[in-house]
Symmetry: D2
Subunit: 345 residues, 4 copies
Amino acid sequence: MTAPRIPVAILGATGAVGQKLVTLLDGHPWFEVISVCASERNVGRQYGEAVRWIEPGTPPSSVAALVLQPARPGVAGAIAFSALEATAATEIEPLFASAGYHVVTNARTSRMEPDVPLMIPEINPDALSLLAGQRKRRGWEGSLVANPNCSVVVLAGVLAPLHRAFGIERVFAATMQAVSGAGYPGLPSLDALGNVVPFIDGEEEKFAPEIGKILSSSFALSAHVNRVPVVDGHTVALSVGFEKRVTPEEAREVLATFRPPAEVAALPSAPDAFLRIHDAEDRPQPRLDAGLGGGMTISVGRIRPCPLLDIRLVALAHNTVRGAAGAALLNAELLVSRGFIERPS
Amino acid sequence: MTAPRIPVAILGATGAVGQKLVTLLDGHPWFEVISVCASERNVGRQYGEAVRWIEPGTPPSSVAALVLQPARPGVAGAIAFSALEATAATEIEPLFASAGYHVVTNARTSRMEPDVPLMIPEINPDALSLLAGQRKRRGWEGSLVANPNCSVVVLAGVLAPLHRAFGIERVFAATMQAVSGAGYPGLPSLDALGNVVPFIDGEEEKFAPEIGKILSSSFALSAHVNRVPVVDGHTVALSVGFEKRVTPEEAREVLATFRPPAEVAALPSAPDAFLRIHDAEDRPQPRLDAGLGGGMTISVGRIRPCPLLDIRLVALAHNTVRGAAGAALLNAELLVSRGFIERPS
Amino acid sequence: MTAPRIPVAILGATGAVGQKLVTLLDGHPWFEVISVCASERNVGRQYGEAVRWIEPGTPPSSVAALVLQPARPGVAGAIAFSALEATAATEIEPLFASAGYHVVTNARTSRMEPDVPLMIPEINPDALSLLAGQRKRRGWEGSLVANPNCSVVVLAGVLAPLHRAFGIERVFAATMQAVSGAGYPGLPSLDALGNVVPFIDGEEEKFAPEIGKILSSSFALSAHVNRVPVVDGHTVALSVGFEKRVTPEEAREVLATFRPPAEVAALPSAPDAFLRIHDAEDRPQPRLDAGLGGGMTISVGRIRPCPLLDIRLVALAHNTVRGAAGAALLNAELLVSRGFIERPS
Amino acid sequence: MTAPRIPVAILGATGAVGQKLVTLLDGHPWFEVISVCASERNVGRQYGEAVRWIEPGTPPSSVAALVLQPARPGVAGAIAFSALEATAATEIEPLFASAGYHVVTNARTSRMEPDVPLMIPEINPDALSLLAGQRKRRGWEGSLVANPNCSVVVLAGVLAPLHRAFGIERVFAATMQAVSGAGYPGLPSLDALGNVVPFIDGEEEKFAPEIGKILSSSFALSAHVNRVPVVDGHTVALSVGFEKRVTPEEAREVLATFRPPAEVAALPSAPDAFLRIHDAEDRPQPRLDAGLGGGMTISVGRIRPCPLLDIRLVALAHNTVRGAAGAALLNAELLVSRGFIERPS
């Protein structure tokens, strides 16, 4: 419990994803938050005073007492978890990576850069091999690693095992996304209550390229995104067509027996089950299943034939844990496990 | 205003659809509710006393004062609007049709019978030509006409014009259906609040055959149904593939210029616009658009290219008006307009 | 239908209350919107282009085509409906009143000024007698009339008849207020979904003084305000203590027989029933009752004994119609009816 | 971990409270579920097959495998946790108590019987002294202990320390209660979504007598109960008047320094903090605070002066944990701690 931990900084610490990072890092066995960074107007204030806390309870006292600093290299920490917005991320993250920080980002800006690992550790941990070239080409002492869009995590997590087994050709995906995915204040309540908004700006366009990069492959994908009055948990209705005929039973067997690499399964934030197959005909549901595995398990259910492609199914995961803050943590843990970051002794 | 009206009975008058019928028939220019029928335990009580009213306000006083009768032929009325459940409908509706009533039903049981018109008046009014054979074969003095499933109304309403113009081959449809579609008490609040239930018993199986019957055609359809925390309004995300290449602009033009037959557009319950095309990128939405045209207009938006088929779009309609009670009213009005039922003079 | 109408301007026309004014004024028999004013960044754009429309459907075409102007005297119109925010209202409304406009405001800023009528026409129409002094003292050619806070409308509407009959001494009021009361974007969805926020900044402090001014009286009032996940309709749980002992039956009788002055009941926006007494034990409810009387009826139910004071009851009204835009309309209509504004002939 | 545990049975194990008991007892250090009882139609089926599981995930495998038995003495177990409905509880619980089981019930039926402890262990643990007389008078080998109504737990938890310090004379309480308090299926979604129902049958009448019994005192209490669209967490707005003048600061001090008996604080289900004072002006809120202390902490906020009585405040607790299943667990743990039930060695 009192082993020395790796010091980490959080960039964008007062926003929704920043708060989730603070929450998940509380009591983390390897990492200790020692710096919190925010925009200029909050610099100099204590985190506990400045933050509009939207997680349960109150901020952990150790973080609440930290004084907010500007998001500039020089802040203490070996890892910089970035919950910055796109514009700020583009400017600030390279400064940190150049200065020797390992930047683990949730921002969308660098995900598609060829030398930035876009990673779900259970699926493509070897994306970290990009870092050697990244650091050399950019002259960075540190590095930059990204996690995917919150819906892409659900999609890629379910599609990767199927793709490796059968070869995916075509995917139809209709999402029903939780409001927490829009941050805070995010979606106005008048748009959310008792309503569906069948549009999220820029979202549908991200799915195919991000999934393609993660799977090192490409297939046709038709996305229909929707915002629904759910707090946490993105639900996705999927039809999948393969290179050869695949039955629901075969697909189920592949998903049920998929195991991430042992190295990844042993990481502190990895859930007992990466994928969980539900047999009840009306599951998964966000209220009941988004929190499984501490929010890190991806649920799958209703695997059945598709009149157009091969199979239909429903997938679901917690969008701010598995789809954002927890995804970043797992990425950082893999960096440690693979020796990119040294653990103090 | 004081022209004599056609007397009508409502079967299943205390349920959710029955109440919506009572509401929509209040002040109707052609029809007057003079009989309300319910299950045995409520027979003999005044409607206003027996009903657990879930529509706004209170029941119209003229109906509230009616005494509930058993759903048996003999009740006064030329038309019997049926909001009966499937089992009761199977048994009771033929008795009424045989006894000379024109039965206009929302029940699913007889929709697929070959000699029962399954009708959306704007789309297939000539389905009424089935009635001659129906009455002869069954020896009925009355008749039986059905409206489709509430989601099918949305789908067929949008797909019919496209099919006639271009020939549809394939359809993906992911629904986000309102809880009022499950009746009352229907879905428990613990299942609905902040949740998505990706399953509705027996629903997905209805889409292809009902749409096929309405359009006198058939194409492959993959349905993904979901219940979302919305009170009124079914939203459907659609991908559509045609026999030839079709652009979003071409599809939009067909939908924007579609006009129902003048005879149908003139019916009392027909909306000003059968289809309404929305240009805002985030519409239609159930909170804002389900009530358009008094709940009888079908909204369409986000017509855009599809990476898999030809186009994607979003369709929406009020499930208990356009998709149930209002659909039944319009069917009955067409029966009158076509002379199957005589208007008193 | 084609009688000439009084030209009106709307200040703050693109906000939530401004949009409700546009909606309610569409087809108004006396008023015609000919000017819409907005903040600088929108000036010069067509209303239909600039507005983020959150009412059902789309803006009336006549208003959608108007070009947004700065909120400065000189815009066409005899009446200026003000949906301005407090700061802007303080600055701008007097300029209009001084320039000869009759300013009918929903802003809170001037409500408690002694010479500004704070009016619910059914309750205190004679507050208009303040206008003579107001105009003389301030040297205004026009005038300024305010409607109360949206919760105060519910409270005063129910308490006024009781106070006149029995004399109120003490009131306990716990509100459950709809999110539309916070405007747009207003409350973030993460605060609203599945949640209660037991605080609205500055709200509790308004109740006693505003009610006191409307009733020309004062009594002790303990307010507990809460925001609940309801779109439209403020519900208030009330305990009321009188100068003498009053039974629920006596209170019910007073409320049931209360009638506003005939002059007010005849105004275009006045509902058939100002107060509606519900006898069902679980009413009023916002989903069912907020829209009664076109949103202008105040509902009352559960009138029962109170173990501490005399009676308990539940009151409810539509907060953006009866509590804001509709309240302003009715105020303006009374100004016309009383001859402060001339109707064109 | 492998110390022998006390065998327990759950009566009404498939209902909402029964499921919460199963969930909270999973991994309990003292208790082990070895019998699950249900109504006749489910007897003989495995729990995991028969239950319509509404808690997150799936039932613990050890309980899922148990075969449902009739709720009759003879089932294995020293403690019988009862989640029975009122009618069944009246009949069945005495049979168990007579046969030697310690019955720990959530049912309302026996709460007000003079010799049944109605207990919140942090508040009135010595209510257990009633058991000697209870067992003697009734000739029971076992015993019967009850926890209060879910709203009463919130009220009594906050009022008890204040009453002991200052003497309470009068209380106004307006509740905003979560839908989970109505069980499953409970409230229909059409009543819950975007709505407030200002009525819960029989609820208001329970508050004064139950609180009076727990506090061994009585004062005037005016209750206004409401159902709101919240899943978990009852929020209560309170005004409290004391025998002498009390300031908010004095009340806050009493609540902040209240500590339950050390014996109770050490029980496995006791939270770190029985009461938690929130200083943020908009807290407590059910989404953020119902889960504090594993759902066993009662939150208090907005302690401020009251224009009518002495103080106003907002209280909140998790209704199915602190207000039902967790309350029962804590009661049972106190029975063990006080030696009424022996721990196996």
